[in-house]
């Protein structure tokens, strides 16, 4: 960086030494804090995962080796939870991307009030997942829910969605889609708008139709951004907790019990902290694989 070179050139070693102290002073507190508050708990959780540790009798803790992990693999609930998490993420993110892209294309137009529409679209993203989840719990409620009423009045049979093993998962996916599609739309939209006017004008001069322009010019240009968005959504949907917890608590049975919820129930309802930590670690590994791809995609998007 220019500033540094100039500084070191001007005042030689003294500056450099002083600058090292400045770095320590500025960066040190955050690094120490983050280390203490994330690396330490993660290691603690790894330690817990090889213990028989009960929430109510911590004094009885004993070493368990890999028992917690082995037990997990034996349990049907774990496989179930893993599958539920993958189904939830796959469906939610696919729908969010498909609908989000379609809406972005629709909103990428010049019209009176378009700015207001885009601003309004931020609202669902900013509501707490707890608020959004419970709002939908009201709308989907069996006796007084609005959707139930609407469906019944046009003759479509309804169910107690949240209490049905068939419908609970699609219902929580719907809520996730409702909350996060605008997020995808807004990001893709700003990606589309950063495609320069010259490029689109050149395409128009070449006689490309709107549709050709979209597929051959705009899409390739927003690809890096699209990848970043999809990965952010994938990571966040694998970690999902709040919305599902307030809607179904993982039920009925285990039909919506994603990994985070399963881990919470194991640790805090059943009191088996060791197994809960083991479970949490499975989630961590899972998420970190995606984070690795995300970081690569991000540096590519920034570079372009």
């Amino acid at each position: 960086m220019q500033v540094q070179r100039m500084a070191t050139g001007a005042a030689a070693g003294g500056w450099q030494r002083r600058e090292r102290w400045v770095v320590l002073l500025l960066l040190g507190p955050s690094m120490l804090y983050l280390f203490a508050m994330s690396v330490y708990p993660t290691v603690h959780s790894l330690w817990l995962s090889v213990q028989n540790y009960t929430l109510y009798r911590p004094d009885m803790a004993s070493f368990a080796g890999f028992d917690n992990f082995v037990e997990l693999l034996d349990k049907e609930v774990f496989t179930q939870s893993f599958i539920v998490t993958i189904l939830f993420s796959a469906f939610a993110v696919t729908l969010e991307f498909a609908i989000g892209l379609a809406v972005a294309v629709l909103l990428d137009r010049k019209m009176a009030g378009i700015g207001l529409l885009r601003t309004l679209l931020i609202v669902p993203v900013l509501i707490s997942p707890v608020g959004m989840g419970l709002t939908f719990r009201y709308i989907l409620a069996p006796t007084y829910g609005l959707l139930t009423y609407l469906l019944q009045s046009i003759g479509i049979p309804t169910a107690d969605w949240m209490a049905s093993t068939t419908w609970a998962l699609p219902a929580v996916i719907l809520v996730d889609v409702w909350q996060w599609t605008p997020f995808v739309t807004l990001i893709l939209l700003s990606g589309m708008q950063s495609v320069s006017v010259e490029v689109t004008e050149a395409a128009e001069l070449d006689g490309l139709t709107e549709r050709q322009k979209l597929w051959h010019i705009v899409m390739p240009l927003i690809r890096p951004v699209a990848i970043v968005v999809v990965l952010i959504r994938l990571i966040d949907s694998i970690r999902v907790f709040d919305m599902i917890f307030v809607l179904t608590r993982g039920g009925p049975g285990t039909s919506t019990e994603v990994l985070s919820v399963y881990s919470y129930v194991t640790g805090f309802t059943e009191g088996d902290m060791g197994s809960a930590a083991a479970l949490a670690w499975v989630t961590v590994v899972f998420v970190n694989i995606l984070v690795f791809f995300f970081l690569r995609a991000l540096s590519r998007a920034e570079g372009s």
Binding site: M1, Q2, V3, Q4, M6, A7, V22, V23, L25, L26, L27, S30, M31, Y33, M37, P41, T42, L48, R109, M111, T119, L120, L121, I122, V123, I127, P129, V130, G131, M132, L134, T135, F136, R137, Y138, I139, Y144, L146, Y149, W178, L186, I187, E201, E204, L205, G207, P224, V228, R239, F241, D242, V246, S260, S263, Y264, A277, L295, L298, A301, E302
Partner: protein, 291 residues
Amino acid sequence: MTTVNDAKVALDVPAPRLLSWPRLWLRLGNGAAAGIVLLWLFPVYWIVLTSFKPTVEINSAIPSFVFTPTLENYRDLFAQFEFSGVLLNSIVVTVVTCIVVVGLGVMAAYALARLKVPGEKHIALWILSLRFLPPIAVAIPFYIQWQDLNLLDTYIGLILVYVAFNLPFAIWLLRGFLADVPAELEEAALLDGLSRLQILWRVVVPVILPGLASTSIFIFVFTWNEYLMALMLTSVNAVTVPVTISKFVMPYTILWGDLSAAVVIQLVPMLAVVYLLQRHIVRGMTLGAVK
């Protein structure tokens, strides 16, 4: 813009004809654009409407759009459930978190963006990757540790965790804002004999105030809405708004009136956020991938 397309359209359409295919198409598109956004906002509208309904209307099998609005639910929320205390908890925790995070964040971000830090790129990526650590992974150790340290159900216990959760995001975002500041500004100040810290405080911070503002607003949103940690680490004294909202779901009944009123109160500051954040929201949400 005089492109070939425009010229063709202009020739095809004689002045008096009001509806042509391209025009109709355009109108339909405009209508669809407005329609889809309004549809998407409908659940929010519905919960706001519900919060002003009397209990009878809330639980009626035929949903009503027209009714005599009442403040009963809000009154009940504050009178019976002491919501003001909960609101105060949320405000204190959120505001303190914002201040601490932005303070620490801008220092660290400045070092990473401007000073010679060994392994700078790796440090930055490590910090960013922490943003994605599943909360459930650290929640259990925090619970056990806070129990030992008597930090459960205290402001400080919750703030310590929230600072850790938000700092990575803040550092990353601020680093991007700092990278946009032209280096010449600081060069001049260096030549004037200001120290690095003076430069940061007197030259850089005033320039990136909008960046600081939008970073703190993002942190405000995350902290204000956070549920999992608050659920585990608080019970009575430090309980926050999202946890209280979820408590209206009781074993045999759901108090929709109080619940919807609380959801609306939680939403109000977010609407101010929408207004303030417009320009930076996408940048923040994509961690700087889109500027």
